[in-house]
Structures are given as C-alpha cells and as structure tokens.
Symmetry: C2
Subunit: 380 residues, 2 copies
C-alpha cells in the first residue's frame, strides 16, 4: 500500500513506517486525513518537535490526493496479472542491502521472476544510453566475466550500456536483475521488452518499487538509481556523459559506502567524460577489467553465498516459521495482528513469539514485535 | 670532463664532485689511478667509513678504463663541431630543477640550440613509441595547448608520443626541449633528424648529459628518463604499455615530488594500460585536457618567468661577473684555481670574491668558494 501511496524515496513516509509499522502508519494517515491527527500515537507524544510536525503535515497534504485511489485489492490483482510478487521487508527474500538506505529504503519491491536473484551478490554495471560500441563491448565483457565469477549483474534495463550489461550476463549464462523506474508490467523502453522477458525466463528478475501500472516518471528514474546502487555490492560506470544518471547511481553507491568503479575511455569521447570525472573527483576507482572489478568488490562476506542464506525460519516448528514470516523488520505488529496475518490462533502466536525471542529472531517493541536484523542476532 | 668519464647517474661520482668540486675530484681520481690514493683529501680524513672507501675503490676501477680516453680538448672540438654548448652547474643557464636529483644530478648538459629554453617552465609529455593515432592526437593537442599557455614541452625525441608532443609544440608556435640518451650530435632515431633540426631552429633545444659522439645505450635511455622528469615542472604520460620507459619517467617525477598525470584511453588498447596502471597505483592523476594538465602544474612560482631570471652577474663589474661564472655551485674552488679559470690575477679574484660575498652570491667552503643556490641568496 505504501509503495502505491507515496513516491519513491519519500523519507517522511519511511520514518513514519519505521516508527509505527506499515499498517499502523497507514491507519494514522487515514485518521489524519479524516480530520483527527493523533500526534501521541507517533510515540513522541505531544512534544513532537514543531519542524517534525510541519514536515508530517506537508506530507499528509502530499498523500491526501492519492489516498482515495490506492486500492489494496486492485494492486493485488495488478500484481497477479503481471506475474509479480510483492516482497516486503519482513519477507525472507527481502534484500537486506536495501536497509542501508535508511528512511529512503523502499517499502516493498515488486518482483517479476526469481526473488532469490535479487538477493544474489552482484555488481551494478550502469552507463549511458548514448553509448559507443566501445562502451557496449566493455559492458558485455565485464558482465560475462562477473557472472563467470559467480556474481549477478544489476542494471536499469535502458538502451546502451544497461542493455549491454544485461545481455553480457545472459550470454555468460548468469542471472541479471533489471531495476525499472515504472511498474514491472511496463517494459521500458519498449524496445527492450524481449530482453526483459529473457531476464525473467533465465532465473533473473525485473523489479520496481512502484506498483504495476505506474509510469516511469523523471523523478522515479532518479530514485530508481538509488535502488540499483543499494541492490549491488559495488557499482561500476562503464560510459557516462559529464552529467548523467549513471553518475548519480555512482554517487548513491558512494554515499552507501559501497565501492564504485569507472571504466576509462578515450578523452576524445564525450561518452567517457563522466567516468573520468568520477575518477578525478575520487568518487570512483579506475577499473579496466573483470579482475579489477572483483578487487573492488573484495572477498564477499562468508555469510553471503550465491543463494540466499538459510531463511531465519529454518529448523523452527511450522507455526513459528509461519509467524516469523509476518513479523516486520521495520516497525512492529501486535500478537493479534500477527495471528490474523499468519492464520493462527492468538495462543499459538504467543507461544511462537516466545520461542522466536529465545532464538534471538524477534524482539519486543512496545506492545508489538519486530524481527531482528541479521547482524543483531545471536549465534545458533 | 666528468660527463665523459662516468655513466649518467653515477652517484659515487656525484658525491665526490659535490665534496671536492669537479676539478679537484678529477685530480684526485688521476692521482689515485696513478697509485697514490689520498683519502685525507676527501675531507673525511683517515676515518672515512670502510663501506665508503670500498665504494670509491670500486668506482675507481670503473673509471680507470675510460680515463685515458677522456680528452678535454677533443670534447671541446666535438662540442664545437656539433654546435653544442656545455652548460655546467655554475652557469647562469643551468636549470636549477636538475639539482633536485641530488647525487644523481648530471655534471653538465650539452645543449644544441637555445639554453634558455631548457630553463623555461614546462611539462614533460612522454609516452609509447608504439602509439596509436588516438594517443598521437592527444599528445599534439596537449602540447599545442601547453605552449599556448606559455609553457614549454619536454620529451625524449622518440617516435610515437614523444615526436607528437614535440610536433604539437612546434605547431603551436612554442619551444620544445628534446632530451637525448646519446650525444646531441647523433639524431636518434635517425628518422626524427629533421624534427630535431626544427626544434633547434625554432628556439628550442636538444640536450644530453653525455658528450657529443656518445651512443644511446640502453642504460642511458633509462637514465635519460630521470632528466626528462627533472627538467619539467610536471610529467604527463599520454600512452604507455604496462611496462614502459614512459612509466619509469613518471616514477622519476613522483620521486622528485613533481606532479604526474596520465591520459586514459580505451581499456581495450594495450597502449593505454600503463597509464591506467599509474592512475590505479596512485602515481598519476587522471588528466583529460590541457586545463587539467595546467591544474596539475599549479600556479607557477612568481620567481620563474618564461625567460630566465636575471643572471646572478647582472650589475656586477666585469671581473666579478667573470669570476662568478667559475665559482661552482657544487663543491668549492680556491682563489688560485678561480684566477686560473677566469683568467684574472689572484688579487682581482680576491677583490671580486669579497664583493660577491657581500652580494650574497658566494660563500666560503673551507679554503675555497662556492656559489650560493638562488634560494639562499639575499635580496638585491
């Protein structure tokens, strides 16, 4: 619902959902739009700082227009029609790397294809639509080399370098992830529709944070770039003009403290000017081949294999495992809500939560429960 | 004489000349080769450390074979025949930048053409003989841009990038300096003979630290690279293979703490691999155009104009000026020796040295006199 209500990267919405949980935050918005804003419910009580109140009030104005048109049932139908899954932070398939975006993290990802591919360690290969045959060749070679090394390739599905990167990954027999600015049911650009189908067919995925049917607007392209950076272990710019979307992806990656590489080219080629600028500015390391890109990524964490690590529910009894799937990572849910979602009794949920707490998989947050991020969990 | 006796970069010879002065050092060598090594004359007395004695003894063995063939008169004739001046450290035309090489500084430079060009602030543009048309185009453009900005262009006169750099400087109407590994009378490579003549004809210079007639041997090429780096305010590598002479010039410049740039190129071009390596290793800054090369050089010292600063002798009486020309910058000479060299009486030399000392242009070193480096001199 949140992914349909607000624009990508809306940090006020992100903070609200982090504070209350997605469902309670939506209830709060609905009551506020109906005229009764309950500031106390936000936990900060009546002493919520005036600038924060002002930001929330402006955000409510933003959301008011679209709220009546957000229809959970219709979204679910659109998702089903386009063959898309909705993956939310509580889902074991949720790519934990996205959490590094903080309040700018997406509320959910719509995924066509294999959700595991989105969690696969990988490198973003991005670049200019106005690419040269040199740049495309380098993108194909790097992508094929990366999948040969067991990594995935993330890109934006655009013409030029993006398409060459996806094609190189497919040619190498690997999986690749396309991050779209519009809905996953809208192949954009249309000329790459067959490429996107091939990505889905070969075990990769086409993902978006906006719901099926959403148009790829200019601001969504810019926000999409942060997802590409956040979904990859490193970002490499193959060709980019002096100002370009690919350079913005590189800056997002740098802000996330992820490694950034840039491929040099002729100084006489405008398509390489952005890459050279990134190197001169110290944003990117100059990389010339797959080995240097792998150096950039460094040894992958032992905890991250090509396949997702064992889901947190492994080894638990079936009820506890099912309850755990519904405990949100951001925000918290009360046992009654969890029982409704997991389709179990309140008593079963309470027993399951006790067991999960002992395992270090969930923690109490006020009257509710939240999943513990992996880093916080104890061993075993 | 020293430039003919020892190979370029012989640091034992450099230290000996620095300690005694060129003439006294040569006398010491001659007496040592005749069988009477006077260790006391070296100033360190009988307590000269055994490793230093051993190094000097090995050096004497090195020099013994060539000494009988070193003939000052013949050298002077060869210089005159080839139209070369001999510029020594005491000379006002001596490029003070070479002194940063310390004991590896050359004893002298043979200069065909305009000695002032050698002191002009400039940038070394170096690169592969096996260049591409892309690299040559960049070298021509950078050289033309540098001379338009009032800088000189230093390079090695080789085919490929070196020749393109010299040609670009000439095309821009500027002066360029060719640093050869062999004698200035030996155009090497022969195919660039007309280019070297053009350099000389247009106010530039062809220089070498080895005497006319000397062959360009492999070790002299490597030593020549340190001169290119030391004669320039910054060094830019335009194209270079993974291992290359141009990369060695860049490393010499880095050791001299001079700025180093490298021009990127296609990662598919072996001719750019050395440039990319220099950037990745942090030896060079990536540069793509003249403005970025000028950034590298930084604002030139106010004390260094395009023309040499006024010679130290300006405004002195003719005898004092002539004496000053013979006071060595490294080592020292006694008044009797200076009188012989300057062709003046001992009394005139003593009077001149007193005046020069008052001007801050010379200083006493034991029983002898040395010229003060410019930085040490007082104003006026």
């Amino acid at each position: 619902m949140w992914s349909a209500l607000v624009e990508p990267g809306d940090e006020v919405a992100g903070a609200l959902v982090a504070a209350c949980g997605a469902a309670a935050a939506l209830d709060w918005v609905d009551r506020s739009l109906a005229g009764s804003t309950d500031w106390d419910l936000l936990g900060a009580g009546s002493d919520l700082a005036p600038p924060a109140r002002a930001r929330l009030t402006r955000a409510l104005d933003r959301w008011a227009a679209r709220r009546p048109r957000v229809d959970a049932a219709a979204l679910a139908r659109a998702g089903a029609r386009s063959g898309a899954h909705l993956v939310v932070p509580a889902d074991p398939h949720w790519p934990a790397r996205l959490d590094d975006l903080g309040a700018a993290a997406p509320f959910a990802l719509w995924v066509r294809g294999e959700p595991r591919a989105v969690r696969t360690p990988g490198v973003a290969l991005v670049g200019a639509r106005a690419s040269t045959s040199y740049g495309e060749r380098v993108a194909v070679d790097l992508a094929a080399g990366l999948v040969a090394a067991g990594l995935g390739v993330v890109s934006g599905g655009a013409y030029g370098i993006d398409a060459a990167a996806h094609r190189g990954a497919l040619a190498g027999g690997g999986r690749t992830v396309v991050v779209l600015a519009g809905g996953v049911d809208r192949a954009y650009p249309a000329g790459n529709a067959r490429l996107l189908e091939e990505v889905v067919r070969t075990g990769g995925a086409v993902v978006s944070e906006v719901p099926p049917g959403a148009a790829p607007t200019r601001s969504r392209f810019l926000q999409r770039n942060r997802l590409i950076a956040a979904l990859a272990d490193a970002t490499v710019v193959v060709e980019a003009a002096w100002r370009s979307g690919a350079a913005s992806t590189a800056h997002h990656a740098a802000r996330l403290l992820r490694p950034v590489g840039a491929v040099p080219g002729p100084v006489t080629s405008a398509a390489s000017a952005g890459c050279h600028r990134l190197v001169r500015d110290g944003v990117a390391v100059l990389v010339t081949d797959v080995a240097e890109v792998l150096d950039l990524v460094g040894p992958l964490d032992a905890g991250r294999g090509e396949e997702p690590a064992p889901a947190p529910g492994d080894g638990l009894d079936p009820v506890a495992a099912r309850v755990l799937e519904h405990v949100p990572r951001r925000g918290a849910l009360e046992p009654g809500e969890l029982a409704a979602r997991a389709g179990t009794s309140l008593a079963e949920v309470r027993g399951a939560l006790g067991a999960l707490e002992l395992e270090g998989l969930v923690r109490r947050v006020g009257a509710g429960w939240a999943a513990r991020p992996r880093g916080e969990r104890g061993e075993g």
